[in-house]
Symmetry: C2
Subunit: 304 residues, 2 copies
Amino acid sequence: MRIAVIGAGALGLYYGAMLQRGGHDVRFLLRRDFEVIAGSGLHVTSPRGDFHLENVQCFRNPAEMGAVDLAVVGLKTFANDALISLVAPLAASGAAILTLQNGLGNEELLAAAFGADRVLGGVAFLCSNRGAPGTVHHLAQGPIRLGEFGGGLTPRAMEIAAAFTSSGVPCEAMADLVKARWEKLVWNIPFNGLCTLTGQATNALLAHPPSRRLIEALMTEVVAGAEAQKLSAPIAGPAFIARMISLTEEMGDYRPSMMIDRLEGRPLELSSIYGIPLERAAERGVEMVRVRMLHALLDRGEPG
Amino acid sequence: MRIAVIGAGALGLYYGAMLQRGGHDVRFLLRRDFEVIAGSGLHVTSPRGDFHLENVQCFRNPAEMGAVDLAVVGLKTFANDALISLVAPLAASGAAILTLQNGLGNEELLAAAFGADRVLGGVAFLCSNRGAPGTVHHLAQGPIRLGEFGGGLTPRAMEIAAAFTSSGVPCEAMADLVKARWEKLVWNIPFNGLCTLTGQATNALLAHPPSRRLIEALMTEVVAGAEAQKLSAPIAGPAFIARMISLTEEMGDYRPSMMIDRLEGRPLELSSIYGIPLERAAERGVEMVRVRMLHALLDRGEPG
């Protein structure tokens, strides 16, 4: 498969590297790491074994990437102002577009620009970060669940999932992308926000009983917001929440991406992880009280 | 009136200085400022005019303060482990005890040790802070509302109120101390916590629409918690909240005491301002959801 990676942060670099190692024709749109990767390739460290890709197809401009079958989008959602212009040349060449970005609203942006039938979305369960230029550290996990923006299990979605899976990234195609997006929010909303706000990693929060109760209460609100979205099946809140917490405990001393964004002075992905989910829940009569409070506390706004 | 001041922070020093200037026999229990004040007196700066008290009765040990009519307690509530032993010698001499400490639970501690009929409580509306040793800065306001722990308007409460008022500290005696305490919490709970958590002063929060809405929502929860306490009269929530916010806007760039406690590395008054009010509300069937979340976020606990 000919694949373009747009937004080559830790997620895009890791998945792109795995797909290339798996035999696919992968083309990376790069900024920060262009010189290093074009010159000496891409290095991946991983508990499953480090590897190095000597020859990597690097581009600075999406119009030069050529025709591809699939564009994988890993852009931070706070950069979504640039999303359409970055993807447009690839969409014009006929590519399907898979956004693995965080939160809600990304598929809608792409569908409005390129048509709903061009768009897939996925949620990635990946712990990774960028090292020195040209190096990405894979820390843990990596599975993807993806689906059509328009719903339903299509041959195209299954083919893309198979490309990932055969490249060493377990990937499941599902009929109900909305459910998968909300299930991921059950984790992202409490942990991204609380770790960012308190400066504490996931396991420190879980070890502090009032914070742990708050995490559970936030998760319960997100499940209620999800259930209001006409999902194909219920999320089974208490069991799902218990599993999310137990998986997080196994992750150890983990710092979510939003916490790292703040520590490194970047904007936060507030709209896709908080603002749009709050709107979608409210539109269906669910007010996520604690989620809204967390959003207000994270949004530093303009001091008066 | 013979008055002992226990807990001579900014509040105790200011009120004690005003009472001494008003002609009362005031005795200060001091630690940090003992040498300076015993040597060269107490200096008060104030928009109403600075003044200096040359001769100040200073003590390091409450057992040496002699018999007084009234002990005024200004101790930080995170130091309440020492409260009873500090007050005991004065109570033994027959003094009435007026706690001007923050939040809930202080009168109960004193009443359990010395008898309910010995105890009064008051809420102070005072902006003050300590300067160099021997100096206290009065910034704004100063009125006190006080009442008997046992309820009702007594001659004793009115006499104490008159002593403050005639010394230049407007003071009102009221029958319903519980109501006054909760009304003060309507301000303290949002502003102390949110300023501490965000590092922003009161007017910056009020200028940020999501934070302003959160402040109003927290105040509404506290009013509901208050109304459940069998008050003598309702608080009239919306109008009271609008007045609290407009008074806060007039205060300008104000940093609440808890924010200063955190900036200066002291413990926070979490139990009296959050923990006990949450318990009192829950006992009467009111769960203050956002207040509990704020409490959890402020309580850093022991990182795991």
